[in-house]
């Protein structure tokens, strides 16, 4: 038995005290550092407003109150944070920044945040640049930053220095509400893109036109026709251009994109995805659930029938996003039908639907919310040139500024100027033109509202068959129930306690629905036995409380 070193009191005590002291000191030194930042409340108003006696140019005399070329009368540099998008390539090489610098005199030093972690870290450590473009931050992070005075309040500056946005908010008070943070003030500008074929429709429902022709079948108009088509695909697998391992109907289960929700919609069961899936929809100002809707049962049984007849593969449950994309873009095609945003240039995908399920309910197809992407542009308090920054934001949203270059791209490549209108080139081969000529698209701010669209933009694609634009206008538009969409409700309309509860209920209910419906589809569980008890089980997890909370927030939003 080893004799333990009996504690030598002095040595021990010395070590313990040293450790504690170090920790304490370190804590004291680093701790208050985070609270040492002075809390100001949008203290730039002083420099922005002109005093009555002598007009002073804003930003200490650097910025011109009007005109874009230039914005500043001496060249300045601003640090700008922006998140990374894999398909966008290297932002720093884009031509647009040079364009901005020559026109306005503002040089932008980009800090590309490659990961969500970095964005969270930036807000948590309060280590901010001058401005930020798209960051996709958590709403609570932005609210906290606004409360701490890290963000410049934009309201008082909008009228004079960002008239385009001022007008927009006056015409669209709901959008203004979205943008406002806790205290009803505006601290950031959103990204607005209201092209109806983009925002009003979620996915197109595609069918393999080549296979349809080979099987000598007409375009399916009802759910029964569709099943017929699928059966024929399965029977003829291995013949013609239908491969032996063809998957007749391929979806990405429970996914917002390419999921089974459009099948539900064909049965007249409409649901939208807000804060998770959860099978909710809007009915004249009331948020309701589809869980007790008997038509939903029919829709699920239809899917179960398809699955258990081997017309859908188990891969619908196991594939991840990458596998999904590989399958839908596979050449030669491997599936007979799927749902996705557009046909990706594969000419055999023909749009169909919505299908008539024969239950005398209207057939829908999913819409998206007409909203704005928040926090697309922010100005931080250490910025020496807040007015110049705001004027830059205005210019990027102005048709007479760089709106079209920034959003659409370059003349001759992305669009052609035909008279007054900017005619969008239908399919741009982005590999050919080089990365530096890409438009920034939805990575920054833009104001493409209904006015701009009708006045300036023209899309030849709307007249070309088999494009998303055409299919939307001619096929889907009348089936898209935008009034049933629940608008997104910003976190500001809930207390932090309510936000916590919503996060918990939404996660739990979504997981439960996802699991349960999956077992019904595979047949591992019996829908007849479990259907009636579903709502009760969900309510035990807080489903009704969740709906009530959402309703409360929505009412607050609308008042």
């Amino acid at each position: 038995m080893k004799k333990r070193d009996q504690a030598r009191p002095r040595l021990l005590a010395l070590m313990v005290i040293t450790v504690l002291l170090v920790a304490l000191l370190a804590g004291c030194v680093s701790g208050p550092a985070t609270t040492q930042k002075p809390t100001t409340t949008g203290g730039t108003t002083a420099t922005a407003t002109t005093t009555a006696s002598k007009p002073v140019l804003p930003d200490g005399g650097v910025t011109n109150p009007t005109g874009y070329e230039p914005i500043v009368n001496q060249p300045i540099t601003l640090t700008a944070a922006i998140i990374y998008g894999a398909h966008m390539g290297d932002f720093t090489k884009y031509e647009i920044w040079k364009n901005i610098e020559t026109k306005t005199g503002i040089k932008l030093e980009l800090n590309i945040l490659a990961d969500r972690e970095k964005v969270n870290l930036m807000f948590a450590s309060r280590d901010f640049p001058d401005i930020a473009f798209r960051l996709d931050p958590q709403n609570t992070s932005v609210m906290d930053a606004a409360e701490a005075g890290d963000l410049v309040q934009l309201d008082p500056l909008l009228e004079q220095y960002a008239p385009i946005w001022n007008e927009f908010f006056q015409e669209n008070p709901l959008m203004a509400k979205y943008v406002q943070v806790r205290d009803g003030k505006i601290y950031s500008l959103p990204y607005v893109e209201w092209l109806e074929w983009n925002t009003n429709l979620r996915d197109q429902w595609f069918i393999n036109g080549d296979w349809l022709n080979e099987l000598n079948l007409p375009e399916p108009k009802t759910t029964a026709d569709f099943k017929d088509y699928l059966i024929k695909v399965k029977e003829n697998a291995g013949k013609g251009s239908i491969p032996a391992n063809a998957i007749p109907f391929y979806i990405l289960y429970n996914s917002y994109i390419g999921g089974q929700f459009d099948v539900y919609a064909s049965f007249g069961v409409y649901m939208c995805q807000t804060n998770g899936q959860n099978y909710l929809y809007m009915d004249n100002g009331k948020i309701k659930s589809q869980v007790a809707n008997p038509n939903l049962k029919e829709a699920i049984k239809y899917l179960a029938d398809l699955y258990q007849s081997g017309l859908m593969a188990p891969e619908i449950f196991t594939d991840d996003w990458g596998a999904y994309v590989s399958k839908i873009t596979s050449e030669p095609a491997i599936t007979g039908s799927l749902g996705t945003h557009n046909n990706n240039g594969k000419t055999w995908w023909k749009a169909i639907g919505p299908l008539d399920s024969g239950n005398n309910r209207p057939s829908y197809i999913r819409a998206q919310s007409k909203g704005v992407r928040l926090n697309a542009f922010m100005i931080f308090k250490d910025n020496k040139y807040p007015v110049a920054s705001l004027r830059l934001a205005n210019m990027l949203s102005d048709p007479e500024g760089l709106l079209f270059e920034e959003f659409l791209g370059y003349e001759g490549i992305h669009y052609n100027k035909v008279g007054d209108k900017y005619e969008r080139v239908a399919m741009v081969d982005t590999t050919k033109q080089g990365e530096n000529l890409k438009p920034l698209g939805n990575y920054t701010i833009a104001l493409i509202d209904d006015n701009i669209v009708s006045k300036f933009l023209s899309f030849p694609a709307t007249k070309t068959k088999d494009t998303r634009e055409y299919d939307y206008l001619n096929r889907y538009k009348s089936h898209v129930p935008t009034e049933m969409q629940i608008p997104s409700i910003p976190d500001t309309y809930f207390t932090s306690q309510e936000n916590e509860l919503i996060a918990q209920y939404a996660t739990d209910c979504d997981a439960f629905l996802k699991k349960t419906v999956a077992t019904w589809i595979t047949g591992d569980a019996d829908i007849e036995l479990e259907w009636d008890g579903l709502l009760a089980k969900l309510n035990k997890m807080g489903y009704q409380d969740y709906i009530n909370l959402m309703q409360k927030g929505y009412n607050k939003l609308m008042e």
Binding site: T34, K514, K515
Partner: protein, 321 residues
Amino acid sequence: MTTGTIPSGTNRPSKLKQRGHLGSRLRKFWPLYLFLLPALIYLALFHYAPMYGVLMAFKSFKPIKGILGSDWVGLYNFARFFRMDMFRTLIVNTLTLSIYALAAGFIFPILLALLINTCVLRRFSRVLQTITYLPHFISMVVMVGIINLLFSPSLGMFTHLLNALGIIEGPLTLLLSAKAFNDLYVWSGVWQSMGWGSIIYLAALSGVDPALHEAAMLDGASKFQRVRHIDIPWIMPTMVILLILSCGNLMNVGFEKVFLMQNAMNLGVSEIISTYVYKMGILNAQYSFSAAVGLFNSVINMALLLSVNALSKKLGDTGLM
């Protein structure tokens, strides 16, 4: 310890070094404290200075106020965690998965090392060594991607193989099965880390004195007996230490791999603490809550490590501290 020869090198306190006056011992050992200095400085700067962050679990964190300035809420976050409906499921899933993974992940590297060490085909075993540690380099995303491809229900290689052999008909539903989730997770983990884990044991085994083996052979011991009575006791301390360290990692069962392997059909079993907290965090930043859950995990880990450590000291004399 075990029967048989006690390999030389065991620590036996020499009679030369007995307790002396503290002052003289400090004077004697001072170069050693100097050796310790770099690591201690590193520790102080990067581990102990930020240690106050642990308090985040007890506060309602707001970045403006910083961690020390945020409001103290005591055990509120912990209570919230314990009161969740999902709590019991999460704990059961996490523990089942980790204990299973720990047991399998502990044993196989040892077996592999012993097998390689006694392989008669020298060149084959060296090539094999290199091959077995390669899977360690595959990132988790690609690893799960390969699993999904090979086990793909209707399109995967195993489906074709099993159909051709007539063992099953139609798609292989392994990936969909909740019951098979733990097995798939653990054995793919063994596949990936078995070779890498055997490195430390091979290094330890390289220190076995061949004279012992020769003596045993002279005594007529078979290869198997030699492995049992010489090799295994020799690496026993390494085994024990690594076991203790693994126990100290019990609650940290890998977030990324489980998250990637989850699907609608196996959620009942595959939802573990870290994935659940992550999902909640997507909807709403939950700093304090995640900190509390993290602290809970750490406390359990540490308690486990100290218990297993104490147990091993009682049984055999080897321990961490």
